[in-house]
Amino acid sequence: MNQSQIIEKMQTIFDKLFLEPVVLTPELSAKGVEEWDSLMQISIVVAVESLFNIRFKMGEVEATQNVGQFADLIARCLASKAS
């Protein structure tokens, strides 16, 4: 799965969890979305792990700066799971 395919899948989570519609782009980050607070961050990480059936290592998610980097992290997790 490439970055845009992963972002497309992530969009379903955001569609469900956000009251105001959010359109995911690689450049988008929590700072740009009012509803994306620390509680929402917990929800997003838990939902992403369950949707992609992956488990992040400690600190990995915090290190990502935007949706694009987050999607790349997901891609790496999926790849290492497959190998």
């Binding site: 989570i13 469900k16 969890l17 009251l19 509803e35 509680l39 929402m40 917990i42 929800s43 997003i44 838990v46 939902a47 369950s50 488990r55 290592k57 400690m58 600190g59």
Partner: protein
């Protein structure tokens, strides 16, 4: 029933009052952490905006959550789970690992918050064994007991200060294979130590402490699923998201259970519920029940479980579409039946709608429909009851009888917060009362009814061994109590030696069982007067002529003490209106009667003992 999240969102955005019901339903249905957090966000948003009128029928509740973990997002999950069961909470959230000082410090904000419920998650790190694996068992046990006592002492202090109910989380045994076969051979292993500490906590917990059983919940979902070391290192979480959700749900359920009356009656269908097949078609030999077939064995196992509920004080009733005699036949004649007719307090087998029958059972037992649970394998019958008697809880049994017991076990309807010996006896007591009602309906007049009871009363002066029961009656009886004079056990004991008093207890039994010590009379001798200082009776035996026999005895005791008159007094209380005319009814003459009560006299000369249907035994003094 379910609401899609888009629907709930649009209800919120369009400010519709149905939003609250939809949110409540969705909160009950939600399974994952992110769903519950999302619904919590919607709830807070609706609260803050105040655009939607607040929901009816919710109770507000002050809770404090304290512990050796980060209590966030657990707090959100607990509050949302409480909302799902009808509570709007106001929450005090403790600081991370600060619970001891929050409890001990008299000036703490937590105490000032006045919580009604405190949820306490003690730190597992602080309650693990630090010694060596080879330490003596006694040493480790001593350490463990001390830790348990300290923790319970903390809950005691907490309760003293807040009067709150306390939910105490226990500890998760670690799921690692570590130590192998040696794991169970030393109490110093984290596995053994945690397991025993959890047991000690539960076995020693006082009534105001409910154990919120993390050990059990984690084991149920799988310890590997429940544990989350990453969550601990990253943000000091108790466990995995799945465990947090499960514990939040469990906490809310316990809090609700503390505030709601427990279920009292289990109403059973018969065909394909307690036996396989239809008794009306298959007959006694044709139904599946007993150890000869797997299905028969499963039905028998179900009956055993159902019978075990009576020990918790649950009453059993039957509601079946059947001919009465055919339905009763297995209870009387089938050798594999575990449930017998004496276990069923009310038996309705007829062709009336089940909702009508259940309503009739509730009336006969004089219990509210809210305390009823109805089980049936037929979804149509469940639906009728749900529609016509929405107060009744229902369990729609699965298609496989091997699942029946699990369905009841997981229904949460029969979870006692405490079990008393009284619970165990409740079933037989009700049984007696319903039999009286049956008997009353066949007996044509009161006299033949009373005579059919074959009552026997035993009279005795107070004895040492009866003192606790006598004191209990003296201090608890309100209705049939002429003077409501309370006495301590030692005051009762003093009467045994007094030559100024005559005392009498009455025990009653009949063909349905023993009622025990049900009446207490104390007379005070004053010259030729015997003043009735105390006359009380348990209301269970009203209208059974016990009063008349008590008067016969009182007169006998008066004569023996050289008295020529019995003087009765009525002191009105908020609850004893039922005995206002007690002495007039017994033929006493009114001396005085006003707002403060009355004095009544009976001259013994010419007294003719009352005739009753009770045979009298006088125990030797």
């Amino acid at each position: 029933m379910g609401y899609s999240y888009d629907t709930i969102k649009s209800l919120l955005i369009s400010k519709r009052p149905e939003f609250w019901q939809a949110l409540k339903q969705a909160s009950q249905d939600a399974v994952s952490l992110e769903e519950i957090l999302f619904l919590a966000t919607l709830r807070k948003r609706a609260d803050a905006s105040k655009d939607i009128p607040p929901v009816d029928g919710v109770t507000s509740l002050r809770i404090a959550i304290l512990g050796g973990y980060s209590l966030y997002p657990l707090r959100e999950l607990i509050e949302q789970s409480l909302f799902a069961v009808g509570y709007v909470s106001h929450c005090y959230l403790g600081a991370y690992d600060n619970y001891t000082s929050e409890i001990l410090d008299d000036t703490s904000d937590m105490v000032a918050f006045k919580p009604e419920v405190v949820i306490l998650l003690p730190s597992q790190r602080r309650h693990s064994y630090q010694g060596a694996l080879t330490d003596d068992r006694q040493v480790i046990e001593g350490h463990l007991k001390k830790e348990c006592q300290q923790l319970l002492a903390l809950t005691h202090t907490l309760h003293e200060k807040t009067k709150a109910d306390i939910l105490l989380y226990n500890f998760i045994p670690p799921p690692g294979h570590d130590l192998g076969t040696y794991r169970n051979k030393t109490l110093a292993s984290p596995w053994s130590y945690t397991a025993l500490l959890n047991l000690e906590l539960g076995l020693n917990a006082p009534s105001y402490v409910q154990i919120c059983d993390v050990h059990f919940m984690a084991a149920r979902m799988g310890l590997l699923v429940a544990q989350d070391r990453r969550g601990w290192f990253e943000s000091k979480q108790l466990g995995s998201p799945a465990l947090l959700v499960a514990m939040a749900r469990e906490s809310a359920r316990i809090i609700a259970a503390l505030r709601q009356p427990m279920k009292k009656v289990l109403v059973l269908d018969l065909d394909n519920t307690i036996w396989g097949g239809v008794i009306g078609d298959a007959g006694l030999e044709g139904i599946e029940l007993g150890d000869t077939s797997p299905r028969g064995e499963a039905f028998k196992y179900f009956q055993k479980y159902v019978l075990s509920l009576t020990e918790r004080g649950i009453l059993l009733a039957v509601c079946s579409k059947n001919d009465h005699d055919k339905a009763m036949e297995p209870f009387e004649k089938h050798p594999e039946m575990v449930l017998r007719s004496q276990h069923i307090v009310c038996f309705k087998a007829n062709w009336q709608p089940k909702s009508d029958n259940i309503r009739a059972i509730a009336q006969e037992l004089n219990l509210g429909l809210e305390s009823f649970v109805f089980v049936d394998d037929n979804p149509a019958e469940i639906e009728i009851v749900r529609q016509f008697l929405p107060q009744v809880s229902t369990i729609s049994l699965a298609s496989d009888p091997s699942d029946y017991v699990g369905q009841l076990e997981d229904s949460h309807y029969f979870e006692p917060l405490v079990i008393t010996r009284e619970d165990r006896d409740r079933s037989s007591q009700y049984m007696r009362e319903t039999r009286y009602k049956e008997l009353q309906s066949v007996a044509t007049d009161m006299d033949s009814y009373l005579s059919s009871l074959a009552m026997q009363a035993t009279f005795s002066a107070f004895t040492r061994v009866d003192v606790p029961r006598i004191a209990q009656l003296i201090n608890k009886s309100n209705q049939f109590n002429l003077t409501t004079k309370r006495r301590s056990e030692s005051e009762v004991l003093a009467l045994l030696a007094s030559d100024q008093h005559v005392t009498c207890t009455i025990r009653l039994s009949d063909r349905f069982g023993d009622h025990g010590l049900i009446s207490v009379v104390i007379g005070q001798i004053d010259g030729d007067c015997l003043h009735v200082d105390t006359w009380l009776m348990s209301c269970r035996v009203l209208k059974r002529q016990v009063e008349e026999e008590a008067l016969n005895e009182l007169v006998r005791l008066a004569v023996r003490s050289g008295c020529s008159q019995v003087v009765g007094h009525y002191l009105p209380s908020a609850k004893n209106g039922m005995v206002k005319s007690h002495y007039q009814n017994l033929g006493f003459t009114t001396v005085r009667e006003d707002d403060d009560g009355g004095d009544y006299v009976l001259h013994i000369a010419g007294y003719r003992p009352k005739q009753t249907n009770i045979s009298i035994v006088r125990s030797a003094k």
